[in-house]
Amino acid sequence: MPNPMIAVINVTDNTEVIREMTDEEYASLLANQASIAASLTKEQLE
């Protein structure tokens, strides 16, 4: 199964690339998503 796609917009050059993630990028994304979900802490004000 291919890796997910990633969209990268270079604002200065006004270019847009949508390409398959590298294995390293995909591993980093999965790690990021897992760590975000685990670490978010909300303080309810009322």
Partner: protein, 189 residues
């Protein structure tokens, strides 16, 4: 570049204080991340306008980072309501990401997200980056509205914002391919 006063840029082409569109993204391709990189450092403020993002599989949140920074440098408070009913107020401190969607009110295939995110002071080094945004999720018959004020990196060695990273909590997201939807980045003077 002055940073202590925040005049509201105009959309009028004749105004000396105006918003200029500097990037757009309208692809309907399914992606888990969208990065706006190499942002010019020549404006006073940034405004990111998001019109119509949905998530392709199960519910999840939409996150935003600056410079792909994953440190505990994000803080904000806000409140959320439907068109007629107040729901909650909350605060987050020392987080690794901004959430553009409130926990419990995620995006999915029928509940789509739109929002306007202003980033003040983004080009100034060693100054906190103040953020304000209004988010909306539409799922008939409800319209959830969220108003947020926050900041990124209050420390003494804060870099300029050179990239904005949108990340969905799992799976993919995409722009709804109708009604001129998309993500539009403006620079304001």
């Amino acid at each position: 570049m002055g940073s202590t006063v925040f005049p509201v840029p105009s959309t009028s082409s004749s105004s000396t204080q105006k918003w200029t569109q500097i990037a757009s993204y309208t692809s309907t391709t399914n992606v888990p991340t969208i990065d706006f990189n190499d942002i010019p450092q020549t404006y006073r403020s940034l405004r990111l306008v998001i019109n119509g993002i949905v998530k392709q599989t199960t519910n999840d949140q939409l996150y935003m980072r600056f410079n792909s920074n994953s440190g505990n440098n994000y803080a904000w408070w806000g409140w959320v309501a439907t068109g007629t009913t107040y729901l909650s107020s909350y605060r987050y401190v020392d987080q690794t990401v901004f959430t553009l969607t409130s926990p419990g009110i995620n995006i999915n295939t029928t509940r789509y997200f739109s929002g306007t995110i202003d980033i003040y002071n983004y080009a100034e080094v060693n100054a906190a980056k103040q953020v304000a945004y209004k988010s909306q999720w539409q799922e008939s018959p409800y319209y959830y509205n969220e108003t947020v004020s926050g900041n990124w990196n209050t420390g003494a060695s804060t870099p300029a914002v050179t990239s904005i990273n949108l990340i969905v909590g799992s799976g993919d997201m995409n722009i709804i391919g109708s009604n001129s939807n998309g993500i539009f980045l403006y620079g304001g003077n």
